[in-house]
Amino acid sequence: MAVASVPHEGQADQLYVETRALRLQGFLLFLVSDLVLFSSFIFAYMYLRNSGQGWPPPGITRPAIALGGLNAAILFGSGATMHYALENFKRGNFIRYAWLLIFTIILGALFLGGQAIEYTTLFREHITWAGSGIFGASFFTLTGMHGFHVLCGIIYLTILLLQSVHGVYDKQRYFGLTAGTLYWHFVDVIWVVLFSIFYLV
């Protein structure tokens, strides 16, 4: 019974492979529970919206669709850049990876900027979180929660960028980047849903 007493070549890789599987599943489960959180609020929104007061409720103007569409395109675009950032990292193309990641972060920040403009416009029309009935409650809660996720994502990606500059990840071990990409895609995809239910229907 000579148990793994001497760490040998490749054992560390074995360790990485196994912990990676654990961490990947754990991270996906985290995303699932986050999805449930969003779904619950979306259920609340749908429930209130269909409670027979008409939508938008009297006295409420919806946020402008033009800016909303542009903002959506920006966020979806950042998803595409993030995807290719990871692809390039996998292929060892570090410079292109870094630029794409920076570009992703900038697009994310732009999205938040667009969101801020949208909020200011609504505030100017006296549509607020607490003072505008169920529209204000559901719109600001859901988009605010999503915006908070984007903000966290920006911070997360910045940390990943700094880490990768310091050589934390290499071609064999880059689970952190995979997780970051998963998270960023998740935030994008949530916006597909939120965009549809708030701006399109």
Binding site: S51, G52, Q53, G54, P58, G59
Partner: protein
């Protein structure tokens, strides 16, 4: 290894348990009332609920008798005895497909049976109640009930009178928090939720005084909304003969008419309603009314109740102030405003409405069916 065949004792026990089960079935089948288990039954469809109760209680008794009987029997008969060697093992049976299939299929069949029976009673409760009859509204508040009757002005607190054998449609809502309306003798309950109207339909068939009980927690004095016939505390449903009911009704009508409500203090000028234009009223409605009133059924409350069919809804023959739903009375509310259980509405001057505006609005509301 012992034999896997059941012993004689097992079959004797099964026979005994079967006997108890048959006794339980016979009891629940034939007992004239379910009195010791439920309060005296006072109306339809409470009697239907009792049928379901008999069925479920009999089935439960059978199932529970067998489960408990066998468990206790196994624990005694198959216990390890002092004489057994310390490492004695039980009969090693892992599976028995026939048995397992049987006890999956049998409960499934029972579930189907129970579903059919429950759905049948459910349809009696919800679908087969007569639509005509007396319409009463009850509004709960912290901490009590008030009742509105057709053509009786205002609200009658804590005592609900019903004629025997007349179908009743009860519209339930609340003024503040969630309450509930339960008359144990009628076996019926619905929550009274602010902003919503829940409906109970039933026919009292037995004269008597029945407690009305709130079963949703509603604040400090929730316990006070616990009608007790013995102490005359809380709200009571009085089911009486048609003659007694009519006498009470007329008495109440007169008594309530004499008590002027605060809204009546201001004298209203008569408005020529015939000149109203429904299309102008529609425009006006979207400007002045739609922020508080939905174009939905009465139960769809935004600030005030929904106004679809306000003049034509048979389940709401009364306006919020208790007067019958006529164009003149609607105009009266628009002139005077309203303060009461259903909220507060500004009066004519506060809403900046001209007499012609009111006529237009009434004409428009009359078109909503």
């Amino acid at each position: 290894m012992e034999s896997t065949k059941p012993s004689r004792g097992f079959w004797v026990l099964t026979a005994i348990l079967g006997g108890i089960s048959v006794a339980a079935i016979v009891y629940f089948w034939t007992t004239p009332t379910v009195q010791p288990w439920l309060p005296p039954e006072g109306g339809h469809p409470g009697n239907e609920v009792d049928k379901l109760f008999r069925f479920m209680a009999a089935s439960a008794a059978v199932l529970y008798t067998f489960v408990v009987g066998y468990i206790v029997y196994f624990a005694i008969v198959f216990r390890r005895r002092k004489s057994d060697p310390p490492d004695a093992l039980g009969v090693h049976v892992h599976d028995n497909n026939k048995l397992e299939t049987a006890w999956t299929i049998l409960p499934s069949l029972f579930v189907v049976l129970l579903s059919i029976f429950s759905v049948k009673i459910w349809s009696v409760l919800y679908l087969q109640q007569p639509a005509n009859g007396l319409v009463v509204e009850s509004i709960a508040h912290q901490w009590g009930y008030v009742f509105r009757y057709p053509n009786v002005k205002g609200e009658i607190p804590e005592e609900m009178h019903l004629p025997v054998n007349v179908p009743v449609t009860l519209n339930l809502t609340s003024r503040d928090v969630i309450h509930s309306f339960w008359v144990p003798n009628m076996r019926l309950k619905a929550d009274m939720i602010p902003g919503m109207v829940n409906v109970i339909k039933f026919t009292p068939t037995r004269i008597g005084r029945y407690p009305i009980i709130c079963t949703e927690f509603c604040g400090t004095l929730h316990s006070r909304m616990n009608g007790m016939v013995s102490t005359e505390n809380g709200a009571i449903m009085v089911v009486e003969s048609e003659a007694a009911y009519q006498a009470w009704y007329h008495r109440t009508q007169i008594a309530q008419a004499r008590a002027p409500s605060a809204a009546e203090a201001t004298e209203a000028t008569a408005i020529a309603l015939a000149s109203g234009s429904a299309s102008a009223g529609k425009t006006l409605f979207s400007q002045k009314c739609s922020a508080c009133h939905a174009l939905g059924p009465f139960s769809q409350r935004v600030v005030g109740p929904g106004l679809m069919g306000v003049l034509h809804d048979p389940s709401h023959p009364n306006l919020v102030d208790g007067d019958p739903a006529t164009p003149a009375n609607v105009a009266k509310i628009l002139q005077r405003g309203f303060t009461g259980s259903y909220g507060t509405m500004p009066n004519q001057s506060e809403n900046a409405l001209s007499n012609q505006d009111i006529a237009n609005l009434v004409a428009y509301l009359n078109t909503l069916k």
